[in-house]
């Protein structure tokens, strides 16, 4: 007799081992996205765009159409795809360096055009792939490869950039939420937010973004458990969780 699964790996997630470090948040998020696309029955209608960063080869793990994008340009690439195929569901999967630093112009303008896109914004407060440099979202006092004494606004290293709050001000944006994956309840919440963001696109509501606070234990030099705790105790102080905007876009 076939076993009945209560919790089962989604079909859209290939069974291969990922290249991510132990305790990396990308694995959880990849699974969530695969689950959501399955639940919404969108496999044949989804195109993912993953730009430069640790997750650039996300297509090795997902079983639907995907494109790479150069650093920062995921939302421009997604705009091109979506305008050619308005009936398909197009989403980007971007890190903080990508979305909030080098790609800030593309982010702002795709959102401001009200592109009917879904953006999953993975915030781990650092550049993970390149060895842990300061990101726009790096916390004050956080030590990175390029802020060895800790990020210090007095040294003109700036403050953590709250892109989600900024995007929420734009009329083309219909849904902005921030969540984390620091514990099972938060993972479930993240699932619900991202699912909402996908459904908004199907319902042609406009630009949706979900910012997810995600651990990078390797760069943070913490155990996976400590990393999850650090999200709860430190990151959420600067980046509070919850829905920031949820509205119909007036066209």
């Amino acid at each position: 007799m076939k076993p009945t699964y209560k919790f089962k790996k989604p079909e859209l997630l290939h069974g291969v081992d990922t290249h991510y470090c132990s305790g990396c948040g990308h694995g959880i998020l990849h699974r969530l996205i695969a689950e959501i696309i399955e639940e919404l029955n969108l496999k044949e209608k989804t195109i993912g765009v993953a730009p430069v960063g640790c997750a650039v080869i996300a297509y090795n793990y997902w079983d639907f159409d995907c494109s790479e994008a150069s650093h920062g340009r995921a939302l421009a690439v997604a705009t091109g795809i979506k305008r050619v195929h308005p009936s398909l569901t197009v989403f980007t999967y971007q890190g903080d360096g990508d979305l909030a630093s080098i790609g800030l112009a593309e982010t702002m303008h795709a959102a401001n055009r009200g592109e009917n896109l879904t953006c999953v914004f993975v915030n781990n407060a650092c550049y993970g792939m390149t060895g842990g440099q300061m990101a726009p979202t790096t916390l004050i006092g956080q030590k990175t490869a390029t802020t060895p004494l800790g990020r210090d606004p007095r040294e003109k290293e700036g403050w953590p950039l709250k892109v989600s709050e900024i995007l929420a001000m734009l009329p083309g944006v219909c849904f902005v939420a921030r969540s984390s994956i620091s514990n099972p309840a938060h993972v479930k919440q993240t699932h619900d937010y991202i699912k909402r963001a996908f459904m908004n696109q199907t319902e042609e509501k406009g630009f949706s973004i979900v910012e997810v606070l995600s651990p990078c234990p390797t760069i943070w030099q913490k155990t996976p458990e400590e990393a999850m705790n650090w999200i709860d105790t430190e990151m959420t102080k600067e980046f509070p969780l919850g829905i920031i905007k949820n509205t119909e876009v007036h066209r």
Binding site: P3, Y20, P184, V187, P224
Partner: protein, 84 residues
Amino acid sequence: MAKTNPLNSSPKQKQSRHSVTIKKDKCKGCKLCVIYCPTKHLRLSDTLNKRGVHYAEINETTQCVGCGRCYLMCPDCCIEIIEE
């Protein structure tokens, strides 16, 4: 189905309706499943898997309640839960 250890099981304890499967060699030993398991049904092994890490394994002295927290937290999707 999780087997109960005769040394620890009380006669009142029911058989669990859930069983956890772990793809041992996919596990990177992050321990998140162990930390979030409410019944301590998971633990890290004493031995190493192919990756050279102490992997998550079943602790047979306790039972799975099928809450799925381990599944939710596993970054490598190596845990699944079967309902009997």
